[in-house]
């Protein structure tokens, strides 16, 4: 089982690195969205520092959601997904491997780029560290919950808009606690409560989301 997990992980990563746009496009999207806000609102330091945490998090949320298509789409179209369903290994383990790949190619680059955007939005050094921690805890949740939604709409021709309707309401707790943690650390307040919540929520999703995703895939592939 572990071998199957690893080989699927390696295969998907290799595929992702072959199509570099799958890694770069969400990242560009993330940067561009954040850049739009100073242009749309004001370049003033105080304003940006106040709305920065929320904006960076909303942009991360959207980037992660819009890249969900890469999670199952191509495997659905060429029939790999059906083979996975028939294989002797539990589907939820295979799904977990695919979610991990999705996080590695979308969530992880966002974390690496976030200090840059934090600086551009005039966040304090402390807040930037907090931003990275919340992204580290939060983006896996986005990939895990997003996988459930993607599995439900994968068989539909135009599922993109629908996917956002299904998934965005479920992202709300992550947004609230993460953006608040970054804002609080700007103000010099304690943030352990928010981080504990995010960690607990991540573990919770890590245990349940793969099961829900594989159930949804079974329905979609019938």
């Amino acid at each position: 089982m572990y071998n199957a997990f690893l080989s699927l992980l390696k295969r998907d990563l290799r595929l992702a690195f072959r199509h570099k746009s799958e890694i770069l496009n969400p990242l560009f999207f993330f940067v561009i969205v954040v850049t739009l806000f100073p242009l749309g609102i004001s370049p003033e330091k105080q304003t940006l520092a106040e709305i920065g945490p929320g904006i960076i998090w909303v942009a991360a949320l959207l980037a992660s959601m819009l890249s969900l298509d890469s999670l199952f789409r191509s495997d659905f179209e060429d029939g790999t997904l059906e083979l996975m369903l028939l294989s002797e290994y539990p589907l939820s383990v295979m799904v977990l491997a695919k979610i991990l790949v999705h996080w590695l190619i979308t969530g992880f680059p966002i974390i690496l780029f976030s200090p840059l955007l934090g600086t551009v939005m005039f966040l304090s050094p402390d807040a930037i560290v907090t931003l990275m921690i919340t992204l580290l805890l939060g983006t896996p949740i986005l990939s895990l919950i997003g996988a459930i939604g993607m599995a439900l709409v994968v068989a539909l021709k135009r599922g993109g808009m629908l996917l956002s309707l299904l998934v965005l309401p479920l992202y709300i707790p992550v947004l609230i606690f993460s953006a608040n943690a970054v804002g609080s650390s700007m103000a010099g307040l304690a943030i352990s409560g928010q981080l504990y919540f995010l960690a607990a929520f991540m573990v919770f999703c890590l245990t349940l989301a793969p099961i829900a995703t594989s159930a949804a895939l079974r329905v979609s592939l019938e």
Partner: protein, 251 residues
């Protein structure tokens, strides 16, 4: 084990489309009539006989609509998730029908709770919309209902749509407490100063009675409408069976 088996047998028997159609047809007039009486009596009691609130004046009378609607919006989502789970586990078709019949009714309750909350908020807060914890949660719940209905209409095969929606409802119901808790936490942080005026910590018995009448009336109203909707779906889905033909021809 024997008892369990006979219970399941009974459930499958009742859940067969034909029996459901017959029994629900008998229940609907009772539920509907009782709901109408409760709603009328509750409204009159709430509008004219319940005493005036010393802080909010007569505007608090919106509570008799707003609070039952908000309760029902949560309750109906729970019903959808429960019947979705029953449909997934025991493959009872009727449970799917109940879940999909409930969604528009639940969405209507949610919308009603939102709008009456906003109308109530205008004289109380001086604004049509305030990011109050309960209103915000209710708005997110409306999004969940809309997502459910959008998914249902997007999948063409009704069986597949029902199963996908059941999974979505279960995921949603697990998330609702988390969303609710986080919204409440967010609200206390940002609006610590404003007291949530929609809360009624201690309520006088003369105000409680119409509230409970209305709550019961809303519940029976939901039971009536969900049975009517489910009957229509059953009738349409079973159109090639003999018993449906007999019913239609008898009319």
């Amino acid at each position: 084990m024997n008892i369990w088996k006979s219970v399941m047998k009974f459930i499958y028997h009742f859940a067969s489309p034909k029996h459901f159609y017959r029994i629900s047809g008998k229940l609907i007039p009772w539920f509907g009539g009782l709901a109408a009486i409760l709603l009328i009596v509750g409204s009159i009691d709430g509008l004219f006989f319940a005493p005036v609130d010393y802080q909010q004046g007569d505007s608090y009378r919106i509570i008799f609509i707003h609070v039952p609607a908000a309760w029902m919006s949560m309750f109906v989502y729970m019903v959808m998730a429960t019947s979705g789970a029953i449909a997934l586990i025991w493959k009872i078709k009727l449970a799917d029908v109940v879940a999909s019949s409930s969604a528009p009714i639940g969405a209507a309750f949610t919308l009603l709770a939102l709008v009456t909350g906003s109308i109530w908020g205008k004289p109380m807060w001086g604004a049509w919309w305030v990011w109050d914890a309960r209103l915000t949660s209710e708005l997110i719940l409306l999004f969940l209902y809309l997502g459910f209905m959008a998914l249902e209409s997007a999948i063409e095969d009704p069986r597949a749509a029902a199963r996908a929606c059941a999974i979505l409802a279960i995921v949603g119901v697990i998330n609702i407490p988390i969303i609710h808790y986080s919204v409440e936490w967010w609200n206390t942080l940002h609006q610590g100063a404003t007291v949530t005026k929609l809360d009624t910590p201690s309520i006088h018995i003369s105000m409680l009675i119409p509230l409970l009448l209305m709550a019961l009336g809303f519940k029976l109203y939901y039971a009536t409408v969900v049975l009517m909707r489910a009957r229509n779906k059953v009738l349409y889905a079973e159109q090639n069976n003999g018993w449906v033909k007999a019913i239609i021809k008898a009319q």
